[in-house]
């Protein structure tokens, strides 16, 4: 039987709001398959987002869902997680949401290594507001606020996460949807903060303006451009130009997780008090 997405989607919410050919729907499906694979109870998951097209996702999934302010998903999620450390907290965020206005919360969540999974939907643009350049827009690309071609330098999101101290960093793409399932599963099973950058296509505000003839072309670009990290690392430099690695890019296990640390302290104090009493 075909995978039953409906069990995780709120009644009557389809078709979703995204444009024709927007790849967010592909990732959406991946997330639902992962939840199913991990046999998570819907009551025990919170999905939190900021503002943007990517951030509209929580409206569709039948979990506890929280659509916050632009860039602020992570601190809201941190509040939820600290209050209920045994629940699963999943943050979905756009490139702008996570790394422009939300950049500070992003690096601090990484540093704090709190057990939250962050999926960054990187479509290289501010989609929701109509195509302004974002901190990940490639050099030279056109955007409404870079009408002469982008002169700004991009973040490398995995590098940023790693530099900030994240203990799990991966990259997948909407094209490699099956592989994406595996990455998200591994991210959610990781104890500590996990970041998955997910390459997406915004045909409406990015593709059209930048010579991608169709959404499919954008998917095929992903196919050509993102190479499994193991393979990537073996390529000679001249073959990696314009290509990027995907897969689990960085992983460090056994680092202290924030909730464990905090509730460990609570336990310690309790024992001390009992010892004293």
């Amino acid at each position: 039987m075909a995978f039953d997405y409906d069990q995780y989607i709120r009644a009557g919410k389809l078709p979703h709001i995204w444009c024709p050919g927007c790849t967010y729907g592909i990732v959406f499906k991946s997330i639902l398959r992962v939840v199913d694979t991990l046999k998570l109870n819907r009551d025990d998951i919170a999905m939190v987002s900021g503002i943007g097209c990517a951030s509209r996702l929580p409206g569709y999934v039948d979990f506890n869902t929280l659509h916050t302010a632009h860039g602020r998903a992570l601190p809201f999620a941190t509040g939820l997680k600290m209050a209920k450390p045994d629940k699963h907290v999943l943050v979905v965020s756009g490139d702008g949401d996570a790394t422009a206005i939300g950049g500070n919360h992003f690096i601090h969540a990484c540093r704090r290594n709190i057990d939250i999974t962050v999926l960054v939907f990187n479509n290289f643009i501010y989609g929701m507001t109509g195509g302004q350049y974002s901190p990940t827009t490639p050099s030279g690309h056109l955007a409404t606020t870079m009408p002469y071609g982008n002169i700004d330098t991009s973040f490398n999101i995995p590098e940023l996460a790693k530099g900030a101290g994240a203990s799990f960093v991966a990259r997948g793409t909407a094209y490699h949807a099956a592989g994406l399932d595996k990455l998200i599963i591994e991210a959610m099973q990781h104890k500590g903060l996990s970041v998955v950058e997910i390459i997406n296509a915004c045909p409406t505000t990015h593709g059209r303006r930048n010579k991608f003839k169709s959404p499919t072309d954008m998917l095929l670009w992903m196919k050509d451009t993102y190479i499994p990290a193991v393979a990537f690392d073996k390529l000679p430099p001249e073959k990696t130009a314009g290509k990027f690695p995907m897969g689990v890019l960085f992983k460090k296990e056994g680092l202290p997780e924030y909730c464990e640390n905090y509730y460990g302290l609570v336990e310690r104090l309790k024992k001390q008090r009992e010892g004293r009493a």
Partner: protein, 77 residues
């Protein structure tokens, strides 16, 4: 929240090997499935997808996997 959902209209095309279901109301006509289908099973009916030649289907699942709109499902029989 209630999870029951009004049954969507589904257009199913079947062959002895495979059944391809399309939910017309969900399909946004992005043509991703059409273009990514390695064997040209699918085509466009103006703004929506349609099955053109089900017999060519190899059940590779590319269309279902990458349809962003929950609009096409492929089932091996």
């Amino acid at each position: 929240m209630a999870t029951e959902q009004a049954a969507e209209k589904i257009e199913a095309t079947e062959s002895p090997k495979v059944k391809i279901s399309i939910i017309p109301r969900y399909c946004k006509g992005c043509e991703i499935c059409v273009k990514l289908c390695p064997t040209q099973v699918l085509g466009m009916d103006v703004f929506k997808v349609k099955v053109v030649d089900i017999d060519k289907c190899t059940i590779c699942m590319a269309c279902e996997l990458r349809c962003p709109d929950f609009a096409i499902f492929v089932e091996k029989k």
